[in-house]
Subunit: 141 residues, 2 copies
Amino acid sequence: MDPSTKTLRDAGLRATAGRRTVLTTIASRGAPLTHAEIASELTGLDPVTLYRILDSLERAGLVHRVHGLDGVWRYCPQPERRGCPGNHVHFLCTTCGAMSCLVDQPLPRVTPPPGGRIDARQFVVGGTCARCSGAGVGDAG
Amino acid sequence: MDPSTKTLRDAGLRATAGRRTVLTTIASRGAPLTHAEIASELTGLDPVTLYRILDSLERAGLVHRVHGLDGVWRYCPQPERRGCPGNHVHFLCTTCGAMSCLVDQPLPRVTPPPGGRIDARQFVVGGTCARCSGAGVGDAG
DNA sequence: GCGCAGATGCAGGTGACTTGCATCTAAAGA
DNA sequence: TCTTTAGATGCAAGTCACCTGCATCTGCGC
């Protein structure tokens, strides 16, 4: 059985061709990808279907979803050790739009406002990545 | 001179009627408001103009801007002590959509990826606010 | 192989936000 | 106070991410 098929079946999802391709694409990158980025690599898949596939993968806990400072959702493979999904800082390069996971920097504990409850946490930092720093002004510091 | 006029002039902006009203509206709430929420209180102001006013206020450092988990920007008055704008955790109620600033919880230091630089940080937590938690179990006021 | 719940594709829609351009006005100088 | 003008505003139109409804298709249990 194809590994992505097993992953999907284990998560309680049907292993359709579209889901297997999307899962493989996201996993092979290791960095959060936008809907558009994934779609550009998967010609032939309906955009709406891709939205639904990403939604099902996220609800099944196979990927986590991060909202960039640019207003676009990004999807990232969920690491093996199943902790809180996406429980780390995400770095978004505001020049090239690439996002990366700072998995070594876990999110701090947050105290909810009185009487409230916290269900999701999302810490995104924006800046310039090494590639864009080097390409533009040669200043990486 | 009207206080909002002075604030705008001090920030290097023209004190137009629209800007004064928007600034007063945001300041009077003390919590991040969406474009739609501000627009609903300011009938007669063109939506596009409101976008531009919010943009100018943000660039002048008079408000800070937070991206909610719902994909909508929210604008919040900048506190007197001019530190890093919006340098605290923001709480978004996923039930009623209200956002509040957890000003007593500053953002932790984040180490950028090798060779990269961080310009902006945004930590949003989603959950249920006290009002919505209470509404479910009997006390809605 | 069969049946069906769930997945997919297509058409159309929503809402946040942007752009271009003509008109108006706050603010500075005469 | 009047004039000038750079910058602000209003309107029309457009872009983009994402959603909804519905008919058709297909993975998977039987």
